[in-house]
């Protein structure tokens, strides 16, 4: 075991890690930050997305020791210090962008990155960007609406309606 230290949600945090400890397990078990979810074993679902040095990555497919010293933002770091939801989080609530909520942390982290790179995406760009995030419940339309709303744009009537 080796001690690994990162800046997590703005604070320096340390916990032990083996060579094989995944970033997601280090966060969930080492720091008890259980907002980041694990939805698959195959790097496909995106439930585990966090921001690593500002960029979205799948925390289930990064080794904790490898990124010792990095800056990480998890879903716990997205709301304001007083608990005020971010624009993306609020829009997920307003537009019913979640049902069971399992995929939601990854969806919010991915959508937050998208709006940082591209503040006014088209509906097609939203769908393209979220291709690595799988949702078993919503059918995606309300997630897309939430992201459009969070970007301050008109919310489209989607094809399926």
């Amino acid at each position: 075991m080796t001690k690994v230290t990162m800046i997590v949600n703005g604070k320096s945090r340390s916990a032990e890690a083996e060579g094989r400890t995944l970033l997601v397990d280090w966060l969930r078990e080492g720091l008890r930050l259980t907002g980041t979810h694990v939805g698959c074993d195959t790097t496909q679902c995106g439930a585990c997305i966090v921001h690593l040095n500002g960029e979205p990555v799948k925390a289930c497919s990064v080794l904790a020791q490898e990124v010792d010293g990095a800056e990480v933002t998890t879903i716990e770091g997205i709301a304001g210090a007083d608990g005020t939801l971010s624009a993306v989080q609020q829009a997920f609530q307003d537009y019913h962008g979640l049902q069971c909520g399992f995929c939601t942390p990854g969806m919010v982290m991915a959508a937050t990155s998208l709006l940082r790179e591209n503040p006014r995406p088209s509906e097609a760009e939203v769908r393209h960007y979220l291709e690595g995030n799988i949702c078993r419940c919503t059918g995606y339309h309300n997630i897309v609406k939430a992201v459009m709303a969070a970007s301050g744009q008109d919310v489209p009537a989607v094809a399926a309606e």
Partner: protein
């Protein structure tokens, strides 16, 4: 995952030394290797992480005008930094997987792995890129030796990939939406003296050149030249629940015609 020791060399020289350890394996972006290890389909005593080695990251142009991409360069960097110098390659990189995969996965890892459905092998073969390791330079024509098999020897690290930039090129990918890999994809590269066509996702031998299309397109670089050909032989094509060999063979022709049209 079985346990292993992780080492993080800061220079290529240190990585070469670390790779001498018994049962050592390189770790690029981990986007293929880590899920494979989680499934216990792969194991190593030592993983040598390449991600801290700055000298094998980044993109530049050499004196011969070739685009040189460090083996540790991520798909996201190629997508962003080759958009002007080699748009077809940037577009290929920008369609690999999803944004999170592209932020970690590397060109060296993709070419070392040589998945029969991977994207980069098609670009490397269509451009006859040179794959550079710490020991030698390998022409793409001599590099791809079949599904998950390359000319790389154990402990060899892909440090750079050099692409002669074509006059016109396009990568046409028919996506398999569940995996995000191509079901079939074709890279067409037109040079002043030759046209090269590489196909991925189709053959159970991995990436290959479609010689008939190259011959037809060298005389007449048009969609019609492709439409006049018969599809390649379906024997030896991958058959699975997503599509049988005949379907894949048909897609090769359709993707090739679309790629040529997009070059015009």
């Amino acid at each position: 995952m079985y346990d292993f020791e992780l080492v993080k060399p800061a220079s290529l020289q240190e990585a070469i030394e670390a790779m001498q350890a018994e049962d050592a394996q390189a770790l690029g972006g981990g986007q293929t290797l880590l899920p494979t290890m989680k499934a216990r389909l792969a194991m190593a005593d030592t993983l040598v992480a390449l991600s801290a080695i700055e000298e094998i990251k980044g993109i530049c142009t050499d004196d011969d005008g070739r685009l040189c991409i460090g083996g540790g360069t991520t798909h996201a960097m190629v997508q962003r930094d080759c958009a002007e110098s080699f748009p077809a390659l940037a577009s290929l990189a920008g369609r690999i997987g999803d944004p999170a995969v592209r932020n970690r996965g590397t060109i060296g890892g993709s070419l070392a792995n040589n998945d029969p459905s991977a994207c980069y092998p098609a670009a490397a073969l269509a451009c006859n890129a040179t794959i550079v390791t710490q020991n030698r330079e390998i022409a793409a024509d001599d590099y791809f030796l079949g599904m998950f098999t390359t000319a790389l020897e154990e402990r060899e690290i892909v440090t750079e990939v050099r692409f002669p930039v074509p006059e016109a090129a396009h990568y046409e990918k028919f996506i398999q939406p569940a995996s995000r890999f191509p079901l079939v994809a074709v890279f067409v590269a037109k040079y002043s003296d030759a046209v090269r066509v590489a196909v991925t996702g189709a053959s159970s031998d991995g990436v290959f050149r479609w010689n008939e299309a190259e011959a037809a397109l060298s005389g007449n670089f048009s969609e019609d030249a492709v439409k006049g050909l018969s599809a390649p032989d379906a024997d030896g094509m991958i058959s699975d629940l997503h599509g049988d060999g005949a379907y894949r063979a048909h897609l090769v022709k359709v993707m090739c015609a679309r790629a040529v049209k997009a070059c015009a």
